[in-house]
């Protein structure tokens, strides 16, 4: 059994892959509670797709894909804000336009590059291609996310719950929203290494949703969400190694399975409470 667990880790690139997965899992899962409860799933997905041209441009010109992605994310968020600002168009419409436009631009850039193989890793993740430099960058990004969340937790909660009150005390909900989008963007870039552009939304939404089936407390939701995300990443990683399947889908499907269990659990509990005739609590 021990060998079963330790054997893959003897290879440096496999160990780095697992560490990368763990980092992405923690960062995404902590943000997940806010993504789920503030209804930011669509904008999260849009961000993940919108950073594609940034990554491709970085690839072509040979600078860090992290900054390429961040630049594209910033441009996308600003454009969404501009289009939906002044109450002319609804935000989801603006997101739809920018999201598809940026993604199309990314695919267009990609089609001009012959080494399609390298870039398919961006779409579907390449957990075993993580270099030690990548890992360092990822660790820094995750540290920034965790520390930022800890220090702005009460502000994020108050702007999410009651934007009128937060404005009345001089705290701008728009500012906090952009801040959260920034954290989602940098986290997405980290997670793209492990699951890719297409599946990163799963890491941002599913852990928080599953945890919300089990608890109604924000802090508990964040803890459970992180735990589920970590366990899913590790399980998915080993399934991928031994089953010789792609790591991204393996991780995402494990996570989805956890969600299905949590969903079923909450319904069974609800049914039992109802059947026993007792009022809730």
């Amino acid at each position: 059994m021990i060998d079963f667990i330790l054997e893959p880790l003897a290879y440096g690139f496999v160990l780095r892959g697992l560490l990368a997965g763990v980092l992405a899992a923690v960062s995404c899962a902590l943000l997940s509670a806010f993504v789920v409860w503030r209804g930011m799933a669509f904008v999260g997905d849009a961000l993940a797709h919108a950073i594609l041209p940034g990554i491709v441009v970085a690839y072509i010109f040979g600078f860090s894909f992290f900054f390429g992605a961040l630049g594209a994310a910033a441009a996308a968020v600003l454009l969404i804000g501009m289009i939906s600002g002044r109450r002319r168009l609804k935000e989801d419409t603006a997101i739809g336009i920018v999201f598809s436009g940026f993604f199309a631009l990314g695919v267009l850039f990609m089609s001009r590059i012959t080494t399609y193989q390298d870039l398919s890793h961006i779409l579907f993740g390449n957990i075993l291609g993580v270099s030690s430099t990548d890992l360092t960058v990822m660790a820094v990004v995750v540290a920034i996310t965790v520390i930022s969340l800890a220090f702005s937790f009460k502000e994020l909660v108050v702007t999410s719950f009651d934007s009128a009150h937060s404005m009345a005390i001089g705290l701008s909900p728009t500012l906090l929203r952009y801040f959260l989008l920034f954290l989602i963007a940098i986290t997405t870039v980290v997670a793209i290494q492990t699951v890719g552009v297409i599946l990163v939304l799963s890491l941002l939404v599913t852990p928080g949703a599953a945890a919300s089936m089990i608890s109604k407390r924000l802090k508990t939701i964040m803890i459970v969400s992180t735990a589920l995300s970590l366990v899913s990443t590790v399980i998915g990683f080993y399934v991928s190694y031994y089953g010789n399947v792609a790591s991204g889908p393996a991780i995402v499907l494990t996570l989805t399975l956890f969600f299905v269990c949590a969903f079923a659990w909450s319904h069974i509990i609800g049914y039992l409470r109802h059947a026993s005739g007792g009022r809730e609590r």
Partner: protein
Amino acid sequence: MKLLQKLNYGGSCDTPAVPQGAALSIDSLYFRYPGSSMRALDNISLVVNPGERVALIGPNGAGKSTLLNVIVGIESGHTGEIQVYGNPAHECRHRMAIVPQRSSIDWRFPVTVRQVVMMGRYVHLGWFRWPRQEDQDRVDQAMEMMDIANLAERQVGELSGGQQQRVMLARTLAHDADLLLLDEPLNHVDISTQELIFHTLEKLTAAGKAVIVSTHDLGVLTVHFSRAVFIDRRVIADGRVEEVVTPETIAKAYGFEFHKDYVP
């Protein structure tokens, strides 16, 4: 520097209240929503003194909420002067608190009653400061006053409309403001909560605080308010309740005419 000021919130406040001044003083206030060609507020002037309990009435769309939101700084871009205890309205946000309309709140967001009441203390804390014992005590007192101490660990989303409104008032009590703005606090509220709200507001005004309540429930006016302000983009009438609430204003507010010679 200006950006830093914009990012900052809460913490201590250096501008002292001006004694013997008005709690709220509004001078020729104009406001227009972005993209709208019509003025939502048109030349409003209003003075509210400490200890006053004022009902803000008017038809739907008259700008009652808009006025409260402009005063508290939720809507920006007005012209005209707003002073709170002798200082520009948004200089010292401790002194002013709002119970917003129910619809502005995301009731499903997972927070407990205690967490929500604690939000009233945030203006005293600001960035990077966690609640201290003093804040915890204030929150306990506020929940005690609104009779919701037993609900402290419940999720706000699970509570009844009346209980939720008590939580919101407890939050403004924890805020410890001198000027309280309540936007339609009586909607979806049971009778005992309504009584508790008025009882609390009476205690606050007796202690020298000023309260403005927007409402479309004219029934409560004569019993609980000494003064009413009737607005319809402009101030139509301002004075003692029985002077302001006349058959003409009611007809204007609700769109039907009373027959003056009608005797029930």
